[in-house]
Each structure stands twice: as structure tokens, then as C-alpha cells.
Subunit: 175 residues, 2 copies
């Protein structure tokens, strides 16, 4: 076993960490639902709006999966304030305000959406590692389904940024 | 060209978006430097402390690369408050407080560090896409060097989580 620096005296364990993490992402997903509505409405190009709307529909399914997980655990589905997602989404709101009417608005929004995706990818990845150690295989399957969706969305957003949205921003700059 | 819903009237363009993004990550990297110091000091197991210290040394180099980029652009190296990283690091501080003395402390800290990594991966990825479109190839190279380091750190943290830290948390739970 690895050397440790301190004796342990806190009864909180991996189960608590896992439950805290679930509450964190539950809060985050619900905030993301609202933010994607604003971003879809605010985006300039139809393909960007469509991408955000697709992601919003997927997020609804992800919230349902979390409800199912809370149900399996026998605890009420409840969120816990997640300052990380609040901060990430605040930056998306700043883009919407500061770049409204700019040809680069959508490039900024796609960037903001990818920051959201990566937060989710990090959190679901961690939750899967913990659920695996806790032997909760049914929950691992549900979390994996969401993680795969998040990764696919990130790839789609990268494609959108590379082929359409950012080109438009660059074209306008060159004009 | 894709259909657009609005006329554009905001003079801000991709150059502004790129510079805003650089200031955002500059602020973030400096905050991360301080946070990693606290996390390395607070971690229970030596291998986790070592991982955070290694990452801290790398982050110093990443700040230097950003200084170099500001220099190439001929603008002063200045950060811009980044609510996203403030929120992400706040969650790391919560873990340090709430799980102090718990066998799961390090698992929580590794999870928090991976949320930081993914924020950086998202931001550097976006900055590289924009710098490429703006034709700033020397800057793209510098940003790519950092992105590769961030990705390697994320992989190392995943390994740490899977092999040592989380196992310890699970063992303690089973004991």
C-alpha cells in the first residue's frame, strides 16, 4: 500500500463521494437544460441552433437516467449547487451579451458549449470509476450511455467549429 | 453559406474572441497554480501529492507559453476573470474541507483535478481552432504543446484513479 501522510478520522467514504457527485451533475444537467434553450435561441446560424436543440433533447434523457439512478439507490433525486457549472454557464451568457450581432457570436457559443461538454465528460468519467469500484454495474451502464452521448456531442461541436461557424467568423474578418 | 437569422451589427470579431479566450485561460492557469499547491499539500497519499506537484511544474511552463503568445501578439499579458475556473476550483476546495481525514479524500481530489484538466482541454482546443483560422501558426504550435501536456495529465490522473487512489477508498469502505 502507498505511504500516507495522515491518519484518517473522517467517516465519509466513496459512497458519499459518489452521491455528492451525482447531486452535483443532477444540478448541472438541469442548469444546462435552461442554458441550451437560451443558446439555441441566441445563436445566429440555423445549424448551430439545431445542434443546441439536439443536445437539449439528449440532456432531457440524461436527466431521466439520473432519476433512474437515484431510484436504484433508493434516495430522493436532488441536486446540490455546483459552482463549476454556474461559472461555465456564466461565460456562455457573457458571450451571448458581448458578441450579440457579431459574426463571431456562434464561434463563441460553440466554444462555450464545448466547455460544458468537457465538464460533463470529466464528471461522468469520475462517477463511472467510482460506481465500478462500488460494484454498481447497472448504474455504470446508465452512466456510460450518457458519457458516450457527451463525447459524441463534443465531436459534433468540434466539426461544427471547424467547418462552418469559425469559417464564417474568419470570412467576415477578412471581408 | 448557412442561413442566418439576424443581421450583424457588432464589430467584435474572431480576433477579439481569441484575445478574450487567451485572457481567460491566462487567469485560469494562474489560479490553477495556487490551487495545485493547496491540493498537493492536502492530498493524503504521496503519489497523489507527486502527481499534483508535477502538474504544477508543467503549469508554470504553460503560463510562460501564454506570456510568449501575448508577446507575439504585441499586447500586454493580462488575465480576465474566469468564473468557470473559479467555480471548478471552488469544488476542489469543498472536497479538501469536507473529506479531510477520509480515505476517499484523494479520490475526490483526483476527480476535482480532472475537472480542471477538461476545462483546459476544452479551452485550448477552441483557441487552437481559432488561431488556425486566423493564420497564427507559431501560436498554434505553442498552444498545441500545452494541449498535449493537458491530455497526458488527464490520462495520468485516470490511471491514478483506477489503480491506486480509488482502490484505497473502496478498501477502506469494505474494511
Amino acid at each position: 500500500m502507498a505511504a500516507t501522510k495522515k491518519t484518517t478520522a473522517n467517516a465519509k467514504g466513496l459512497e458519499d463521494l459518489f452521491l455528492d457527485g451525482l447531486k452535483d451533475i443532477y444540478y448541472a444537467e438541469k442548469k444546462i437544460l435552461k442554458a441550451l434553450l437560451k443558446m439555441a435561441k441566441g445563436a445566429d446560424q440555423e445549424e448551430v441552433t439545431a445542434a443546441f436543440e439536439k443536445h437539449r433533447a439528449e440532456t432531457e434523457g440524461q436527466v431521466e437516467r439520473l432519476d433512474e439512478i437515484f431510484d436504484i439507490l433508493g434516495v430522493p433525486a436532488r441536486g446540490k449547487t455546483c459552482p463549476a457549472i454556474d461559472g461555465i454557464l456564466e461565460e456562455g451568457s457573457e458571450i451571448l451579451e458581448e458578441y450579440k450581432g457579431s459574426p463571431s457570436l456562434d464561434a463563441g457559443l460553440v466554444g462555450a458549449a464545448q466547455a460544458v461538454e468537457h465538464y460533463e465528460i470529466a464528471r461522468y468519467g469520475t462517477l463511472i470509476a467510482w460506481a465500478t469500484l462500488l460494484g454498481k454495474t447497472d448504474i455504470v451502464d446508465l452512466l456510460n450511455a450518457t458519457l458516450e452521448e457527451e463525447k459524441a456531442t463534443d465531436v459534433a461541436l468540434t466539426g461544427l467549429g471547424e467547418t462552418g461557424v469559425n469559417d464564417r467568423a474568419a470570412e467576415q474578418k477578412a471581408a
